[in-house]
Structure formats: C-alpha cells, structure tokens
Amino acid sequence: MTNAPVVPATAAIDVATARRRIRPARIIGGTLILIVVLSVIWFLVSNERFEWDVVAEYLFNPSVLLGLGMSLVLTVVCMVLGSILGTMLAAGQLSDFWPVKAASIAFVGVFRGIPPLVQLIFWFNLAYLLPRITVGVPFGPEFFSWSTNDLITPLTAAIIGLSLHEAAYMAEIVRAGMLSVDQGQHDAASAMGFSRWHTFSRIVLPQAMRVIIPPTGSQVIALLKGTSLVSVIAMGDLLHAVQVIYNRTYEVVPMLIVAVIWYLVVVTVLTLIQRRVEQHFGRGAARDGMRRPARRAKEAN
C-alpha cells in the first residue's frame, strides 16, 4: 500500500478522467448484507405460518385500532405527566434547599428502581393496602373520602404507574440537560436581572433541549412499548386487543405480526418527529460546523 507506483508528472494527466476506487471489503460486505436481506424476505414471504392473509384481514380491525388508540393515548398522557413531574424533580434535585433535594433524589431512586410491571400490579391492587382515600388534615378532620376501588380502575392504575416510572427517567434526562448549560449563561441571565422562571424557561431549558431530546425520543418509544404491560391488568391496549382475538381464533403469529406492524409504524413516525424537533432546537448551535468540510463542499456544489 505504502509504495504505490508513482505517476510521472506529464501534462497529459487530468484527474477528471479518473474512475472510482476499487474497494474489495465494501464489495464483500455489501454482497453479504444483500444475501441476508434477501433470505429474510424469502423467509417472510414463503413461510405459510405467517398467514399474511389473516394479517391483512385484522390489520384494520376496529378492536385492533381501538387498542392502538388506547396505547397512543396512554403514551401521550403518561409522557406529558411524566415530563412535567420529571422537570420538577430535576429542578428539585438541583435545589440548594436540602429537604427538597433529598426528597427528589429519593423519589427518582425509588421509582427508577421498581420494574414498571410490578408498579402496575401494585397500583391496581392499592385498595388492599388503602381501602379509602381521604383528603383532610393529617391526623385531623377529613374533607373528602373515596373508596379506593372506585378511583383505581385499570386506566388510572396504568396512568399512575407509567407516569411515575416515566417521571423518574425524565428527571435524570432533564437534570443532565440542565447541567450541560454553561454556568456563564446562568451568570449572564442573573446579571440581566431575569427572574428565575424566565431564566429557566427561556435560557436554560431551550439550550438544554439539545441534550434532552435524543434520550427523550427513546423514552417515548420505550413508553409506547411499555404500554403493552398494561394488558396484565386487563387494560384494552394494542397487545391486549390482539390477545383477545387470538385467544378466540388461535392465530397467534399473524395477530402478533399485526401488533408488530402497528408498533413499527408509530415508532417510525415518532422518530421522524424527533428529527424535526432536534433541528428546531439546533438553532444557534455549532451543528453544521461538525460535519466534515469535504461533505459540506460537495453539498454546496
């Protein structure tokens, strides 16, 4: 490689006539990938047990779509609640008032440590520990009181369990984002006399977003798939919907394929949205400077 033949300098040479470089490793690698892809496709198409006609029949089945809708609603609601609570916990973890700091750290530690499945079952069975939920002065008079069994439905148990789990993860993500913002930004905001809220919402958070968004995108996707756990408490999500059908028809594989297709469709859409949001918050950041100059020159042509 090192002693490539030297081309003598003559006026007849013009690199515009040069051909593409021959790269054997790429040819071999590309061929291998092609073979694997083709055999996977062949497996999917030729194997009768996938029962693609059944998949097509149930893909837009009303109860499947209803389950999909429930999964999406749960994802959105739990993500919103989890992000709000998580942001508050992140601020709490960075507080200089130790009781708030300790409480936030403890909350994140506990709810990040408990598997979401365990939490769901726990919240669903809350009535066992706490038969009535009351609002009032602790050890004093009561103002309102409800039966726990009336309040805790599969839906509320799912929302509470998944939101708290999500909040604990979002707290860490937001905290890392806030720490990524330079202390000089805090100094400048403080010197300008901006309020704490203005500093947080207009200066720190928008800059932290570049660090917050990529892991948050993964969180949303994890949460969407996490909603499949609620089928254990008889909540009618996408997975539950296909389970109900295959328990009746025994077409397990094609029904699972239906669920997989929908999960992949939603995840793809979410990924596209994430890219757009990343671009939005990339304003003012040294993003285009990170690309290689050669690439940029090529694009400019």
């Binding site: 330079d182 000089g184 930004q185 100094d187 400048a188 905001a189 403080s190 010197a191 300008m192 006399g193 901006f194 309020s195 704490r196 203005h198 207009r202 200066i203 928008p206 800059q207 918050f281 304003r283 003012g284 950041a285 040294a286 400077g289």
Partner: protein
C-alpha cells in the same frame, strides 16, 4: 491624552458615590478571595482594577453584581444596601425579587461574553429591556439598533452569536449591557479571551462608552488602556486594595513596592493600544 473623561464627564465627587464598598470579605472554603476591600465609585467615573492573577478582581465585580454571596462588609448602590435588609431586628438576605431589582440597576460584561447562543444578536440586546424594564418591542428594537450602530455591528442584528468573531461577540455583549441604562457597568477582563488582533476594537468600544459619561468599573490587564481611559486605578493583591489613585499618579508615581514590581513586570511585555 485624557480629553474624553476630562472634559465631558468630570467625576462628581461632591455627590454621594454611585457605588460604595466597605470592608468587603469573601472566601471560598479556606481560600480568602477578598480580605476587606474598600472602594468608592462616583457618578461618571471610570475605575480600572488591576492586579496579579488570583488577587480577587473577578470576585470583587461578581460580588458587586450579586453573582456571589458575600461573607462580610457591605456594598451600597446609590446609598442603598445591596443584597441585605433590616428585618425583624436583624440584617437578613433580601428576597429573590428584591435582589433582582437591585441587579437590574447594574450590568456586567464577562470575559467569556456569555451571549445567549440560541437568540439572534438583536434578541440578545432587546430581551432585558422588554422583559425586565418594560420597554415596548419598538422602543427596545430602536434602542438596540442605535447601540449596534455605535459598536459598528448594525448589519449583524439577525446573526446568531456563533457566526461572529470573538471581538464582535464582545461588542454585542457590551451593547447588551448598555441597553438597560445601568447605573454602573462592570467589566471583568473584557479582552482577555480575545485574539490579540481583536483586542483593540473592543477597547475602542469601551472607550467610546466611557466618553459618554457612564459610570464604569473595568477589571483589565491592559495597562495602556487603563492609563488612557480610566479616571482612577485600583491595584489589588491577595484580596486587598493596595493602591487607589488617579490614573496618572498610579502609573507615574506608584507608592507601594508591589505596584512598582507589577508595573515593571507587566510593561516588559507591552502591547500598543492606540489611545
């Protein structure tokens, strides 16, 4: 050599000082950063603060601007105690909102510029007047464009900070600080993180600002600049003010041995700053 501050804005020492610092103490753990600093800055005065690295210059201006808590002594802005109030028979730290109100009457230019990178140059300048000082968008914009013209960057109003050179960023930061019409402008080594060829444009901008009668405290390593622009120079070492004299006497007739060595050592690597 002293035409601007000498004729237009003669410091008014008859009136009470704009800023008064008495016996200011500050430590970081065991490290004493300020060990009883006294300083008075009068209306229209430009005070340069000089001293070796680690002598507490940055800490002093950061304490004045309430970016650091203080451990002793007191500071007054127009006679008003900064950061503390008398309440229930004791001196207590001010509530957040009251402290912010005091901070709004001062402004600061940082060594690292600290522009807000996600906002355009224009928004960097207009945000505080609008949000904090109640200016209308039109007023704030007009004032910002006027200031940008004065620092020679009116064509950069819609650029983002990262598209500007260091010197241009610092000039924007200066415009941003001036936009709120502060009672006192604090500079912490405004040229120390700039490439040598960019230092001059920033110093010229500060000089222009000084000539409009602004009250300023400038921490700097630029001796020539201090000599030409400042009315008074303060020399700090080990957290104390060693010498506080009119600029001319400061350079021509340093009293303390430490200042003499400092001036001798610093002027061995002179940089020409056109006056």
């Amino acid at each position: 050599m002293h035409e601007a501050s000498g004729m237009i804005a003669l410091p008014d020492t008859e009136k009470p000082p704009v800023l008064e610092v008495t016996g200011l103490r500050k430590h970081f753990g065991d490290q004493v950063a300020l060990d009883g600093v006294d300083l008075k800055v009068y209306e229209g005065e430009v005070v340069a603060v000089l001293g070796p690295s680690g002598s507490g210059k940055s800490t002093l201006v950061r304490c004045i601007d309430q970016l650091e808590s203080i451990d002793g002594g007191a500071m007054f802005l127009d006679g008003e105690l900064l950061g503390y109030e008398q309440s229930h028979g004791h001196l207590r730290p001010l509530a957040d909102a009251a402290r912010k109100r005091q901070q709004r009457r001062m402004s600061m230019v940082f060594q690292q510029f600290n522009l807000f990178p996600h906002w355009t140059v224009l928004r960097n300048i207009t945000e505080a007047p609008m949000v904090v000082h109640g200016a209308t968008p039109a007023e704030a914009r007009e004032r910002a464009m006027e200031l940008l013209r004065r620092v020679g960057l009116e064509d950069k109003a819609n650029a983002y900070p990262r598209h500007l050179s260091g010197g241009q960023q610092q000039r924007v930061a200066i415009a941003r600080s001036a936009a709120v019409d502060p009672r006192i402008l604090l500079f912490d080594e405004p040229t120390s993180s700039l490439d040598p060829e960019l230092v001059d444009e920033v110093l010229q901008t500060i000089k222009k600002l000084a000539s409009t009668g602004r009250t300023m405290v400038v921490v700097t390593h630029e001796l020539e600049f201090a000599r030409n622009v400042a009315d008074r120079c303060v020399f700090m070492a080990a957290g104390r003010v060693i010498e506080d004299r009119p600029a001319e006497d400061f350079f021509e007739d340093p009293r303390s041995e430490r200042l003499r060595t400092f001036l001798a050592r610093s002027s061995r690597s002179p940089r020409e700053v056109s006056g």
